[in-house]
Amino acid sequence: MANETAIEFVEVFKSFEAQPVLKGLDLWIPRSEITTILGPSGCGKSVTLKHMIGIERADEGKVVVAGYDMARIRRSELIALRKRIGVLFQSSALFDSMTVKENVAFGLRMHTRMSEEEIAERVHVCLDAVRLAGTEARMPVELSGGMRKRAALARAIAMEPDFILYDEPTTGLDPNTSSVVGDYILKLQSELNVTSVVVTHDMPLARRVSDRVALLYDGKAVVQGAMEDVEAANNEFFELFVQGKLG
């Protein structure tokens, strides 16, 4: 299974109101590994992630996810594909009118025929996996930032996805909570054997969890490969990024 292509970007261009964000991005993400997309703020990391779930469409080039060309994918195929993808958004994006339980159960209620008992059991398992059991009845606003991230993670894994996409999972968290989030990324990877994509500019997190990394700069992947290879390559852009001088 290793080294099979899960997601691929070929010469992808994307602009917003004549402002180019992606300028010929080539990116390869293998199946069942953790790939981290690094880059300074505003380099197009989150936009890249949104292309993977079809929220954004490339102006030019090709985005292939699980074998589907995202420019030609049919609506029914896109819906089926999205059910296989769990996303942890930068702002957690928990539905604030719902309890934690309703948030985690949302996908199950919309897409499965599970009974309420089965849903409750699955919600409990997911919340337990992120050590949030007992918070089912609480509203998102009653949770701390770290707890909200974990609740969002529980929601992302509830449908047992094949892909988990993490958009800046440690932004706004203290170092301890960031470390806990890193633990969960590794734990979920080993337990679920999913393809994980982590978008971040948090270098300690990247070093800890990544099998592969890609560094985005000026709308392109300036370097990508196995974490240890990239670190050993003495790439100019990567060195500058690590020193906090890129961008």
Binding site: K50, I53, G54, I55, L78, I79, A80, R82, K83, I85, V87, F89, Q90, S91, A93, L94, F95, D96, F106, G107, M110, H111, M159
Partner: protein, 257 residues
């Protein structure tokens, strides 16, 4: 001159793009109606928010408007027409004009702005993207239930408003202008037509759908954080209110002449 033309051209193009985008959202809503059963809980919840939530406000404005219209009708007519005509004119004004338009405008503020700011906040906090990423169509899940709730609950509120406004106007006519109940009822019976109620209800279905559609559309198109949410809410109220008044002319013309 050239710059002005370019500016006007740009504005015109932006306007037509907006109209086309609204049309696309409308079509998507119609397409999503086949999944209506899936959204049943949202529809019921929105019916409660739009209908029950607006009841105290509707009660208040209908009561005072009914009383005001009774005094105004009596003031304008007392020298020229018999007392029972006050009842007749009051009922027809309330049913044809006052309740549908006033409620349309008030609910554009309460419901339209509420929907735009709620969905706008969801948009800027990535909750709409979260819905999309979970294979749930935001137009079907967020917009359609609100439009259906508007189309169902605004006519019910209008009927409620008919009753409250007429009862309060009736009471005011008796207390302040010493018109007897017999005279008022006689006038009401003489000129009451069921078709007028039908016209009032048709208008309210249109306004109810319109103001929830505009609120949802503005909310889902929000960009730019808290300021964007404010802009979306303002735009929803202003455009809905203007359209209620413009459509009132066309509907009145089409249904009464």
């Amino acid at each position: 001159m050239g710059r002005l033309l370019v500016f006007l051209g740009g504005q015109l193009a932006a306007f037509f793009i907006q109209v086309f985008q609204m049309f696309c959202y409308g079509v998507q809503c119609v397409t999503e109606m086949r999944h209506l059963y899936l959204y049943r809980h949202q529809i019921i919840g929105q019916c409660y928010t739009v209908g029950v939530g607006s009841l105290p406000l509707v009660c208040l404005i209908s009561a005072f408007s009914g009383m005001a219209i009774a005094i105004q009708t009596a003031y304008q007519m007392e020298a020229y027409v018999p007392d029972y005509m006050v009842g007749a004119l009051m009922v027809r004004s309330v049913i044809l004009v006052l309740s549908p338009i006033l409620l349309g405008l008030v609910l554009a503020g309460r419901v339209g702005a509420g929907v735009a700011s709620e969905l706008g906040t969801m948009k800027v906090s990535e909750q709409v993207d979260a819905l999309t990423s979970m294979a749930v169509d935001p137009v079907g899940y967020l917009m359609l239930p609100r439009i259906i709730a508007g189309a169902i609950m605004v006519p019910i509120l209008v009927i409620y408003s008919f009753l409250v406004a007429n009862i309060c106007g009736f009471g005011m006519s008796m207390i302040k202008m010493a018109i007897t109940p017999t005279e008022l009822v006689k006038g009401m019976k003489l000129y009451f037509e069921m078709y007028d109620v039908f016209v009032g209800l048709v208008k309210s279905v249109v306004y109810g759908s319109l103001l929830t559609f505009m609120g949802s559309y503005m909310g889902l198109c929000t960009a730019g954080g808290a300021q964007g949410v404010g802009r979306a809410a303002t735009a929803a109220v202003v455009i809905s209110s203007a359209l209620v008044l413009i459509l009132d002319y066309f509907l009145t013309h089409a249904l009464l002449y």
